[in-house]
Symmetry: C2
């Protein structure tokens, strides 16, 4: 059975949980305390020198990085649906994996980390980046239902958690109706696994 090193409040782990849910794949969760304390997490560190969740283990395959794990699950268990093999379509999806790893991580994710876990960081910069993320996504979703192609892909899954949790970083989603509608579309799909804090955007 697939094993996932995770924490219930990790949006990066939740990307993986969401895709596992959509794909209908059962998994065994391994709880890791956050923030990761290297002396207590030797097993995680062996698999991931970045000392982060998620890590996925599927037989011989050990992967760190939520985007890479989404690519693996999509290609291994999702056929052409979640990540097509066509060069151009695959690259279109990957654009948003980078957006998730860079802009979303350093925007809404860090703003949330500041308020939820009391990390020392430049909160004004994180909020400015989060606002820009929401502006770009709202413009992108003004004329389309999904970030790429004619269906949800791992582009949407990778971007969803920290955007849906933006309110926990005191960045309100109220001014971004296309983003809120997109979150609702993803939430209403069969197999969707919710996460604490996901209720918030819908209440605005």
């Amino acid at each position: 059975m697939i094993k996932l090193y995770e924490h219930p409040l990790s949006g990066n782990a939740h990307k993986v949980r969401i895709l596992l849910g959509y794909l209908g794949i059962a998994y065994e969760g391994v709880h890791i305390d956050l923030p990761v304390q290297p002396e207590k997490a030797a097993d995680l560190l062996r698999h991931n020198p970045l000392a982060e969740v998620p890590v996925l283990i599927d037989g011989d395959v050990v992967l760190r990085d939520s985007q890479a794990i989404l690519v693996y699950l999509a290609r291994k268990y999702g056929g052409e649906t979640w990540l097509p093999s066509d060069a151009a379509d695959q690259a279109r999806v990957v654009q948003w994996l980078s957006f998730s790893a860079n802009e979303i991580y350093h925007g809404p994710n860090l703003a949330r980390v500041y308020y939820l876990f009391n990390f020392e960081l430049d909160i004004e910069l994180a909020k400015k980046r989060a606002t820009r993320v929401l502006q770009i996504l709202d413009a992108r979703l003004a004329s389309r239902s999904w970030l790429e192609l004619d269906r949800p892909t791992i582009a949407d899954v990778a971007c969803l958690p920290y955007v849906a949790l933006a309110g926990e970083g005191k960045v309100e989603l109220a001014g971004y109706p296309n983003v809120v509608a997109w979150i609702d579309r993803l939430r209403s799909r069969n197999g969707f696994i919710p996460m604490p804090g996901f209720e918030r955007p819908l209440a605005v």
Copy 2:
């Protein structure tokens, strides 16, 4: 002919130039002034709401984000060599695309941007992140020639430029012999396209 919106000092554009060189593909470069001034770069903005180079145009295909462009070129023109289609191997490579988009961008890239382009940013944080990047890469490359698999892939190409240019961010490569040897291996391959600043690490 493939068109690439680029700037000679952009490490992100250079990732693409390097892979085009390895693949032996000619392209037409479109010079974009940096930092991008939105009022002068309407064409770029139409293709990329993030207002960044590179952007690649290949017939009908328009892509932003250096990682996505590497995926496209590798899948379209590189067979199985630069990005395999096997789920696990593809995901292994993607781990380093995220590492490039997040850790390398916010580490050695931002340190360089601070000294080269006088951007206001937390230079101590950027240097701390750059050091961690080099530690992780040096440990990874202690027992292997390439970041994944038994050959160079777009994992190596994506990570190369800003690591090779770390000296321009006043982060010295001298203490990371495995990284320096890896840079040399990539530089010595047929078709490699150099970039201003790439000489520096080899002189340390």
